[in-house]
């Protein structure tokens, strides 16, 4: 490690170098002439003091202060020790000199061999040739005469060859080495200087040194067989270096040993004391003896007495390391690196190289030990891969364990470790890992995963338990163990429920858990009770409900708990924000109850009570679903529930139906039925009508079903009459079809008959019939026979008639002049006009009540016709039920209204059940869609047929279009002679709501069209009614209205108009 050994010659004076010292950036040499030379970094020497005339014995540079001490002979047999201040020389060795601080004259005439000075400059020990050691105490720099004290008498052990102070915490030791002994003295106290057990072997001059080790300071003495270290406790270690020692020098952790090899050649050994290895070994040849070893400026200098010197330079650390690596001295490298305070990365790198080296050598066991030390720095996969390749599971295991202990293991590592263990069948170790709390490096979740994969369910289960991963444990029980014992399962369950994550776990495994529990322990009500109790405390119990849907034992109590809790809060705090989402749960509870109830319908009173209680309180909840509840009640045949539901929903007719059904099976309930009617009919008189339909509907099935008792029938009929809810005729019509006793309707009939004299009607009818016959005859006459106009007077001016004259079929004649001025209308007879109009008005008025009857009839028919509603609707079409005369002024809306009406009519039977259960709706959906279809077909078919007739009709005037006002002409309908028809399909679709679309349409009256087609035989002009002034098409140009009449363009005589009479 010390590479260069260069030899230089230093130009000194003639004198020979005797001693030297270094340490503070300067090497001092003492020569035989008594001069002190300073060597600077530039390796130039300069004399800095002439200290002792007769030569210098020893020179010492203090470490901590700029003092230099020299021991020399001033006069023959007169020796002194001088203290020099070296401050200036240290600053500039080339120009300054040492300044003398003090002189201590030695009292003895015997030549001294060596001295040692304590760093605090208060202790000085001088050894003499004859073996005496003197100790001076006092301020050495002050130079006062200090009395020496004799530590060791002369002649005991031969001449003193070396002295060194050792400072310890509480004491100061002086090590002395003589020719034949090594003696430590304790010089801490002034009065009690004592020596104690040393060694009976000594050393030569210059062959001892004081080494400040990293752990302990040693006093090192070199002897021919070895180098011995001494501590305050006596002998310490020794290093076996052969050879007669010439010089020992300690510097920076290294011990330089110069041993005599032969004459003029020296063995040079540099030993690393801390790491115990030889750093450098060489032999140098020198005719002059090596006198001084000095360490300065990072180099080691060896000087001979004649001034030539060697310089040894230490390689830098990196080079040293490289050398170690090259020589495969990894352990040394590691030691050195440690001494040099390598950072962990650096150390890891060395370990890795060492490991690699061992690995390549095939020492996989050794290598893994090195790799283990790299944990945390070296990428673990590097090692793992190596050992995976070599399939050394044991080594791998060792490494992985270390990794885990250091806590940097990844999941993969854990998996690998456990896989190794499982592979090696080291179940004990696995158990140990799981039990030993110090082995908590296993990431439990990963470990569990691995165990489960490896089929070690037991371990996985234990581990999960230990780490309180009850969810995992549960999973193991469910998925892997499949058939766990009850206790295990319950224990886990209990624990699960105690953890915070109970909801999460239950949500995840709830269903399988339920399954498992029922499998393991079919009679587990006790447990479930516990579960429920625990669940009730959980805030998210609501979400857990669905897990237990199939498990009634859990579901019902759980739901009860939830709902009751709600109820409690509801009552307790009026301002409590109701748990609005609980509705579905209550529904669920209801269904659960119902399910329970059906099992034992008649005896299970408790459940029934619960049901009723629930039904009364549950609707407080905003999200309570009545429809669902109703459906459930219906499904399970829970009529009390249905009643409540209908009541709450206001579906009184349904309620009534139920009451009726009840009553028909149990006659004592008839009053109830009636009461219900009475109760709700106040606000909804039509209920009487419903009641009437109910009682008149023939009961299906059983003969045992009873008819409504007489008084109730009477009551109902009475109401119908008094409140004018129905026309008597439909009532009677309906009554005819039932098997009601005549007795019960007798009263009604007599009332009806009393109300109006039938005879009056009959007479009037006869009269009218006669009239009609007359008119018919008259029309017939008009049509078939010539008419003679015999009028001679103008009916307007009563003057005699003369030409030109106008004759009307009504036998009125006018002067042309009179007619022109008198007539409001060129077609109508001015005289009859008023009369005809009145007649038409009356006709219209007459129709109104009929309409109402029609409507009612239609509804009844539709509701009764189960299969053939189409026929009914079609029939109704034909009768013009959908025509709304009242709407005529707003003809634009006409079609829509009519359609609306149609829809209402169709939907009516179903609408009444709106809000009932979905299934029921579905039940009706089929018929509804059927109805829809029937509507569309019924509306389309006649229109098509109409179109056909239109096409067939020969005279579609060519000028038809031209005569129309562009203003009123509907854009979309220009090409059709009957433009309104075109929008038929659109209006049918518009029935599925599209008001805007509706508005864009030309004012169409499908109904009219349909009616027209149905009643083709009727001579009545369908558009005549449009002839009203309020018709938007007539307003701008009355003529256009007439032109629209397709029949007008025919050669049809206007006089044929039956109303033009």
């Amino acid at each position: 490690m010390i590479s260069t050994l260069s030899e230089t010659w230093l130009a000194l004076l003639d004198a020979s170098v005797r001693c030297g010292s270094s340490g503070r950036g300067c090497i001092y040499l003492g020569d035989s002439d008594g001069a002190v030379h300073a060597i600077s970094r530039q390796l130039t020497a300069k004399m800095v003091a002439e200290a002792h005339i007769k030569g210098i014995v020893q020179i010492h540079q203090c470490r901590q202060s700029a003092y230099l001490l020299t021991l020399g002979e001033d006069e023959p047999a007169a020796y002194s020790l001088k203290v020099w201040d070296a401050t200036l020389v240290e600053q500039d060795p080339m120009r300054s000199r040492l300044s003398l601080k003090s002189v201590i004259k030695l009292s003895r005439v015997k030549p001294p061999t060596c001295f040692a000075v304590h760093e605090n400059l208060t202790l000085l020990a001088v050894g003499y040739e004859d073996g005496e050691i003197q100790l001076y105490r006092g301020e050495l720099t002050r130079g006062r005469s200090i009395k020496p004290k004799i530590l060791q008498r002369e002649g005991e052990h031969g001449s003193v060859t070396g002295l060194a102070f050792k400072t310890m915490e509480k004491s100061i030791l002086l090590f002395s080495v003589s020719k034949h002994a090594v003696t430590p003295f304790d010089v801490t106290n002034k009065d009690r200087d004592v020596n104690f057990q040393g060694d009976k072997v000594g050393g030569d001059l210059n062959c001892s040194c004081y080494a400040e080790g990293s752990s302990e300071d040693h006093f090192i003495v070199g002897r021919s067989d070895a180098v011995y270290c001494y501590t305050h406790e006596g002998r310490g270690p020794c290093y076996g270096f052969d050879g007669e020692k010439h010089l020992l020098y300690y510097f920076r952790g290294y011990l330089l040993i110069i041993a005599l090899a032969s004459v003029e050649s020296y063995h040079l050994t540099i030993f690393d004391c801390a790491n115990k290895f030889v750093a450098f070994q060489s032999t140098i040849h020198s005719s002059e003896p090596i006198k001084v070893a000095a360490s300065e400026w990072g180099c080691l200098f060896l000087l001979t007495s004649d001034g030539s010197f060697w310089q040894l330079k230490e390689r830098d650390l990196q080079t040293k390391m490289t050398v170690f690596y090259k020589k495969n001295h990894y352990d040394l490298a590691i030691k050195v690196a440690k001494c040099n305070n390598f950072d962990p990365e650096g150390m890891a790198d060395i370990y890795r190289q060492y490991g690699d080296h061992l690995y390549n050598k095939g020492d996989l066991d050794g290598a893994i030990r090195q790799y283990c030390k790299t944990v945390g720095k070296l990428e673990a996969s590097y090692v793992v891969r190596k050992y995976m390749d070599a399939s050394r599971v044991l080594n791998l295991l060792e490494y992985l364990e270390v990794i885990h202990k250091s806590g940097i293991a990844t999941q993969d590592m854990t998996t690998l470790l456990l896989n190794c263990l499982t592979k090696l069948k080291q179940n004990e170790k696995i158990e140990h890992y799981m039990k030993d709390p110090s082995c908590n490096f296993l990431d439990p979740e990963t470990a569990i995963k691995v165990f489960r994969k490896g089929g070690m369910y037991k371990q996985a289960y234990q581990l999960a338990n230990k780490h309180e991963l009850y969810g995992c444990a549960l999973q193991i029980l469910i998925d892997d163990v499949r058939d766990p014992c009850k206790e295990d399962l319950y224990n886990i369950l209990e624990k699960v429920l105690q953890t915070d994550k109970a909801e999460e776990i239950l949500r995840k495994y709830g269903s399988s858990l339920v399954q498992l529990v029922s499998q393991v322990d079919p009679k587990s009500t006790e447990t479930w009770r516990k579960v429920v109790a625990l669940l009730s405390l959980s805030p998210s119990k609501r979400e857990l409900v669905e897990l237990f849907i199939s498990k009634k034992e859990v579901l019902v109590p759980l739901l009860e708990d939830i709902c009751q809790a709600c109820q409690y809060w509801w009552n307790e705090f009026s301002d409590y924000d109701f748990e609005s989402s609980d509705g579905p749960l209550m529904n669920l509870l209801l269904e659960a109850y119902l399910d329970q109830w059906t099992k034992n319908k008649d005896t299970d009173v408790a459940t029934k009570e619960k049901l009723l209680a629930l039904l009364t309180k549950a609707p407080d909840c905003p999200s309570w679903d009545w429809a669902r509840a109703l459906f459930a009640c219906k499904m399970f045949g829970f009529s009390s529930g249905e009643i409540i539901a209908f009541e709450k929903l206001g579906l009184h007719n349904d309620l009534l139906a139920i009451r009726y059904a009840e009553a028909s099976s149990n006659p004592s309930l008839w009053p109830k039925f009636f009461e219900t009617c009475q109760k709700y009919a106040e606000t909804k008189p039509s209920l009487w009508k419903d009641a009437f339909y109910l009682i008149t509907t023939p009961p299906e099935g059983s003969y045992a079903a009873q008819y409504c008792p007489q008084h109730i029938v009477e009551e109902i009929l009475e109401r119908l009459l008094t409140q004018n809810l129905m026309e008597p005729l439909p009532i009677i019509d309906r009554l005819c079809k039932t098997r009601l006793k005549l007795g019960s309707v007798r009263q009604f009939l007599s009332k009806v008959l009393d109300r109006k004299g039938i005879e009056d009607y009959e007479e009037e009818s006869r009269k009218l019939q006669a009239e009609t016959t007359n008119i018919r005859q008259h029309i017939e006459t008009l049509r078939t026979k010539p008419l003679v106009f015999q009028g001679t007077r103008c009916n307007a001016c009563s003057q005699k008639l003369d030409f030109p004259s106008v004759h009307f079929l009504c036998q009125h004649s006018f002067h042309q002049q009179c007619f022109d001025s008198f007539a409001a209308n060129e077609r109508d007879c001015p005289v009859c006009w008023q009369k005809n109009r009145d007649l038409l008005e009356a006709d219209r008025a007459d129709k109104k009540p009929t309409k109402a009857a029609f409507d009612a009839d239609f509804a009844v028919k539709l509701s009764n016709s189960k299969s053939n509603s189409f026929a009914v609707i079609a029939d109704a079409f034909g009768k013009g039920i959908f025509r709304d005369e009242d709407q005529r002024p707003r003809e634009i809306l006409g079609p829509k209204r009519s359609i609306e009406k149609l829809r209402l009519a169709v939907a009516q039977p179903f609408d009444s059940r709106e809000g009932t259960s979905e299934a029921r709706l579905r039940l009706h959906e089929g018929s509804l869609s059927y109805a829809e279809k029937s509507i569309s077909t019924s509306s389309q078919a006649p229109i098509e047929s109409l179109l056909e007739t239109m096409k067939k009709s020969p005279a579609v005037p060519s000028g038809f279009e031209g005569r129309r006002s562009p203003l009123t002409q509907p854009k979309a309908a220009t090409k059709l002679p009957f433009p309104r028809v075109q929008s038929t399909s659109a209006s049918v679709t518009s029935r599925q709501e599209s008001p805007q679309l509706q508005k864009r349409k030309p004012p169409v009256s499908i109904i009219a069209a349909v009616q027209q087609s149905v009643k083709q035989s009727e001579p009545k002009n369908p558009f005549e009614e449009d002839g009203d002034t309020s018709n938007p098409f007539l307003e701008p140009e009355p003529e256009a209205a007439t032109s629209k009449n397709p029949f007008e363009e025919d050669d049809y005589d206007s006089s044929l108009n039956p109303f033009a009479e």
Binding site: K170, S171, T188, V194, F196, H232, G234, D331, R369
Partner: protein, 212 residues
């Protein structure tokens, strides 16, 4: 750390029997498979407790090579106990025991406690010296016997501690002259009121040297 007694041990035996490893295992509790040859004498120390008393063991680990025999000899004298180690996988090391024992008896004080140790007991497969042979040898020469493994640390503690116990017993019996440091026993500062050669400020009171 202050101690009641300081016992000096020496470990002897042929080269490569595992002396340094024993020491390392005892002092540092680690095993170094590759160990450099000991040159001269290595040095280790550890505190143990016997009978409630802190005892510092100062152990010289000697070089087994013949070349260092003379150096080793110079260490016998100051030792109170010796671990004579052989390698159970190498019969020659067992055969040399007599030589070692003679050497030890010759250079040490007569009361030195010697423990015979058959090391490398972990290498059972390569065993050449039976345990019984070791026991017989120990009985014949009045030694304590034990098989150890520096690698697995089996019996290592016990070997050192049992030796210390033996020495301690001898002290109690008064066999050892505890005031003569040449016997390898030193009394700690607080236990030596009668010792004229150990002043209160003596080297024994230095507390900072727990590791030497």
């Amino acid at each position: 750390m202050s101690y009641a007694y300081l016992f000096k041990y020496i470990i002897i035996g042929d080269t490569g029997v595992g002396k340094s490893c024993l020491l390392l295992q005892f002092t540092d509790k680690r095993f170094q498979p590759v160990h450099d040859l000991t040159i001269g004498v290595e040095f280790g120390a550890r505190m143990i407790t016997i009978d409630g008393k802190q005892i510092k063991l100062q152990i010289w680990d000697t070089a087994g090579q013949e070349a260092f025999r003379s150096i080793t000899r110079s260490y016998y004298r100051g030792a109170a106990g010796a671990l004579l180690v052989y390698d159970i996988t190498r019969r020659d090391t067992f055969n040399h025991l007599t030589t070692w024992l003679e050497d030890a008896r010759q250079h040490s004080n007569s009361n030195m406690v010697i423990m015979l140790i058959g090391n490398k007991s972990d290498l059972e497969s390569r065993r050449e010296v039976k345990k019984e042979e070791g026991e017989v040898f120990a009985r014949e020469h009045g030694l304590i016997f034990m098989e150890t493994s520096a690698k697995t640390a089996a019996n290592v503690e016990e070997a050192f501690i049992n030796t210390a116990k033996e020495i301690y017993e001898k002290i109690q019996e008064g066999v050892f002259d505890i005031n003569n440091e040449a016997n390898g026993i030193k009394i700690g500062p607080q236990h030596s009121p009668t010792s004229p050669s150990s002043p209160s400020g003596g080297p024994g009171s230095s507390p900072g040297s727990g590791c030497c």
